[in-house]
Symmetry: C2
Subunit: 216 residues, 2 copies
DNA sequence: CGCCTCGATGCGCTTTCCGCAACAATGCAG
DNA sequence: CTGCATTGTTGCGGAAAGCGCATCGAGGCG
């Protein structure tokens, strides 16, 4: 029985495959997303210190204990909604051409990864505003970028056949690329997303390539 | 009255003025330093999770309540020993020549500020090791660099007459410079301080100026 | 249909973190 | 050197964070 019950399971790289994933997995994602959304909403409404984890759990209809199965802290639930971000980035890097200059690889991959941002544009803008306004969020926000930075560094090291723990070059390229990304995202957020994010990233990378000379 | 009572208060930029500072201030610094040192020692010996704030306070001979008058968390006491670091950096920047390219200013000022590192060389090496080994320290460690980065950015913005919240250039130069600094410090720490830190910083800035081209 | 896996939950405990109010030491002026 | 103002220390008490553990129930799968 159950012939034709699972309608189409071809994994196309295009769509995020969020549909046929098993009820369990879908519920988990929904719970995580719900916790994140409710946290954003509550903190935006009342302020960071006026929201407890119990509040957030209640708003997302789970027990406080469950909250901690998903996030390690109140900062986390605001700043770290997507647990797979780093792995996806690694995947993108692995799939990129081998003969381009390292900085070009990082630029194009990072721009590709921006889909995740523009897909949830409003959520990102709100989150960036909260990070700007709530100092307590800064450390973990930076840590999230740092995790991506490490992936970039490893990739550059491998690509150029250098040792990331002995040679400063991969570390520098990786961190500089991430700095460009951060700067672009910060600008985008501060400007309420008026300028397209990919443009800002390209502008930042262009400046890196000039050796950061003062532009006219 | 009180003629000739204050024996010389000329603030010479050379010595850190740690001597004539009033008993109160000296005690405060001693307490802070003691909390930091004991925390480093205990965590290095037992591991981060096996040390409580109560332990650290006891080792430094103060009450647990006093700990929180100095540091906001266990991560802080490890990673943030010096509360004036950012202000000193701002001072250095303010005192630097106005006609050099922004990147040159940042490089020379940051190198000057390295005295603080080499002065307490062993402490820094230990702290860097702990940061490498204990993931929980990463967020606040990054936040400390971020605070310096903001100062750099403000300086570049002012120096070039640009608006740091509308123009991406100051943000990018500031973050790239800080990335160079971080990379150099990380390398220095990972290599147990074998290569002189200023050399590493110069190497990193040189790479930035080439636009991060692959070195031969 | 029935077993197995795994996430949700409740419980209880330790630790963090901080406001508050007394107390003690320091700084300072007369 | 003496009294007053400042300011750091401490104890108290409490809210909240964070996590190990055992249990229960829903989902996966043959």
């Amino acid at each position: 029985m159950a012939v034709g019950m699972a309608q189409d399971i071809g994994v196309s790289a295009a769509e995020p495959a969020t549909e046929r994933l098993g009820l369990r997995e879908r519920k988990k994602r929904a719970t995580r997303q719900s916790l994140h959304s409710e946290a954003l909403r509550l903190v935006a409404e009342r302020g960071f210190d006026e929201v407890t984890i119990e509040d957030i759990a209640a708003a997302a209809d789970v027990s406080p204990r469950t909250f901690f199965n998903y996030f390690g802290s109140k900062e986390d639930v605001i700043v770290n909604p997507d647990p797979d971000r780093v792995e996806r980035l690694r995947g993108l890097l692995a799939g990129d051409a081998a003969d381009k200059p390292p900085l070009d690889v990082l630029e194009s991959v990072l721009i590709t990864s921006l889909d995740e941002v523009t897909d949830r544009r409003e959520e990102w803008l709100l989150r960036l505003r909260l990070v700007r306004e709530i100092p307590a969020l800064t450390p973990r926000h930076l840590a999230a970028f740092d995790a991506m930075e490490r992936v970039l560094i490893d990739d550059v090291a491998q690509r150029t056949g250098r040792d990331a723990s002995a040679d400063i070059y991969p570390v520098l390229v990786g961190s500089a690329a991430m700095a460009a990304m951060r700067a672009a995202i910060a600008r985008w957020g501060a400007g309420d997303g008026r300028r397209p994010l990919p443009d800002l990233v390209r502008e930042a990378f262009a400046a890196l390539r000039t050796g950061l000379a003062v532009p006219s």
